[in-house]
């Protein structure tokens, strides 16, 4: 499994990661090596085997939808790099 530089740039775009040229070439080599090691899974016969996403058999268990005040709203807002009053401040979304 060879991961090309074009593959790395495509994946980095999907993952919203800016990479330097250096990183692009390094990750290309490392991902190739990792995926090569994982290619062994291809030989495993999984026909008729269901997928496991939850091991305990538990299903999603929503709690009652009752609003409760959060004890420290200010702290949450203060963790944002930029805020304006009770809002997170972001760059323009639509041009």
């Amino acid at each position: 499994m060879s991961v090309t530089e074009a593959d790395v740039r495509r994946i980095a775009k999907l993952a919203r990661l800016r990479l330097s040229d250096d990183e692009v070439s390094r990750y290309g080599g490392q991902l190739s090596k990792i995926l090569e090691a994982m290619a062994e899974l291809g030989a495993l016969d999984t026909s008729g085997v269901p997928a496991t996403s939850s091991v305990t058999g538990a299903v999603n268990e929503p709690r009652a939808d009752e609003p409760r005040p959060f004890p420290d709203r200010e702290r949450l807002l203060d963790n944002a790099p930029e805020r304006e009053g009770p809002y997170f401040k972001v760059r323009k979304v639509l041009e």
Binding site: Q30, L41, R75, V90
Partner: protein, 494 residues
């Protein structure tokens, strides 16, 4: 008390504080002095909350003076891995991305420690976002193994393991996604428990791989691990995957013998790549279990050889989704050079995450991307089913599985940092238990000729922690092979 308070077990300390033999303040001061003395070399802590710890300790002492009943961990100092939220204290996940991020609430496990009158000392180092096996991936420097300062403490909960091993805290919390509690416990010569998936609430644990993550304790004795586990375990409506099981008892009696206990040795765990010294130590530990009356039986876990590939597809896939929230808008770091919203995301994530985190996000994004999903992610989820079935079949024949925690003792700094695949292989014996969601622990079982600690891993079926801790307790009592490193070997006094 005339005894050195850092040499007492958590159970003993809580009793001393409840009985008025020692004040909580004295207990905390003794551990803060120890930290001042030892941590400049070991660097287990990222944040020390000495003032808060002293005021918590005084509050416990005040409560006792009032005649109120004290909690199960009265005055016992605890260190917390820095991916678990403690209100008012920074949670960094050892990442530039969260530098300066102050928790707005307590994780449920932390709230339960506080309710049990434990005292929180501070936050411990880890591999960035818990991704790693050596704590070398921390953005804020490396933690040394207290047994040999030129070696890693293991990871990702390396700071918590080192803090307990160096007697800076009698208890610590960590998280275990693929071995991050058990492997550092083995490398540092302490007890580390990974509870069953869902047994301890993950509310307030920064998510890495949500179908695998579990919180658990580090301790100097099995009894201490059981006590800490009983405090933090139990159903929590704030975690949708929390199991509806009551918390286990605070004290699990150590059986006098192990008659009637069937222990399985997986033949797949004694293979090439296992250090001969580790193999000898594990075989000798198994002899001890046998001499206690346990029946030893070889079992098969035939899909073990696929566990690493399965894990390193599933965990990075889940991580790539979980870490999407770090976007330069709501938490910590932002790259100020970004002009557009798109650039805010890309520049912030490119500069805020370290190399291993980016590597795993890339790997996960690749495995989930269109055209590759079936070959990687869907395939790995099916392989996971086969690995879980291996355990189900084995537990039809035996009560427990015994084997090595890690294939080697602690390795040197830099030994595996250039080779991600070699680093991933150090998790080969711990990963299967996360994939199957069962309960497992590492208990010290001796030293190498070079004086490095080794861990025996015991694995039990889901929700069988009591049996796991009882057998580990019997083993510990029979072997007494816990020794603190360095100038003053010994065992925590019970």
């Amino acid at each position: 008390m005339s005894e050195d308070l850092t040499r007492l077990s958590a159970v003993r300390l809580a009793r001393a504080v409840r009985d008025g033999e020692a004040s909580a303040e004295d207990v905390v001061r003794a551990h803060l002095r120890r930290i001042e003395d030892k941590d400049p070399q070991i660097k287990a802590f990222l944040t020390l909350t000495a003032d808060a710890a002293l005021s918590q300790a005084r509050a416990v002492d005040e409560k006792r003076r009032r005649g109120a009943t004290l909690g199960a961990l009265a005055g016992v100092p605890v260190a917390i891995k820095d991916n678990i939220q403690v209100a008012g204290v920074e949670t960094t996940c050892a990442s530039r991305m969260l530098k300066g991020h102050v928790a707005a609430y307590d994780a449920t496990c932390v709230a339960r420690l506080k309710a049990a009158d434990a005292v929180l000392l501070g936050k411990t180092n880890l591999d960035e976002f818990a991704m790693g096996s050596s704590t070398e991936n921390s953005a804020f420097g490396r933690t040394a193994n207290p047994w040999d300062l030129s070696r890693v403490p293991g990871g990702s909960s390396g700071g918590s393991a080192a803090a307990v091993a160096a007697r800076m805290a009698p208890l610590a919390l960590g998280s275990d996604t693929g071995g991050s509690i058990r492997q550092p416990a083995a490398f540092c010569g302490v007890v580390g428990l990974k509870p069953t998936y869902g047994r301890v609430s993950r509310y307030g644990l920064v998510a890495f791989a949500s179908s695998l993550d579990q919180v658990g304790p580090f301790a100097g004795t099995v009894e201490d691990a059981a006590l800490a586990f009983s405090v933090v375990a139990g159903h929590d409506p704030m975690d949708a995957t929390s199991a509806r099981r009551p918390a286990p008892p605070a004290r699990i009696p150590v059986p006098a013998d192990l008659k009637g206990v069937r222990v399985g040795l997986p033949r797949e765990y004694f293979v090439e790549g296992l250090d001969p010294e580790v193999e000898r130590a594990i075989r000798s530990a198994v002899e001890t279990l046998k001499s206690l009356g346990a029946t030893i039986k070889e079992v098969g876990l035939p899909h073990t050889k696929h566990a690493i590939s399965t894990y390193y597809i599933i965990a990075p896939s889940e991580a790539s989704a979980n870490l999407a929230r770090f976007d330069g808008v709501r938490y910590g770091f932002v790259d100020r050079g970004a002009k557009t919203l798109e650039e805010v995301y890309e520049f912030t994530r490119g500069a805020g995450f370290g190399p291993e985190v980016k590597r795993r996000i890339m790997l996960g994004t690749y495995a989930l991307s269109s055209g590759y999903y079936d070959a990687y992610y869907a395939k790995a989820q099916r392989a996971r089913t086969l690995i879980a079935r291996d355990f189900r079949d084995a537990f039809a024949e035996v009560d427990l599985i015994a084997g090595p925690t890690a294939p080697t003792a602690a390795f040197r700094f830099g030994e595996k940092t250039d080779d991600p695949v070699a680093m991933y292989l150090s998790d080969v014996f711990t990963i299967p238990s996360n994939l199957a969601g069962n309960a497992s622990l590492s208990v010290p079982c001796g030293l190498t000729a070079g004086g490095l600690p080794l861990g025996l891993q015991l694995i039990a079926d889901a929700f069988q922690e009591e049996r796991l801790l009882a057998v580990a307790g019997a083993f510990e009592a029979a072997r007494a092979c816990l020794f603190w490193p360095g100038e003053s070997p010994g065992n925590p006094s019970k």
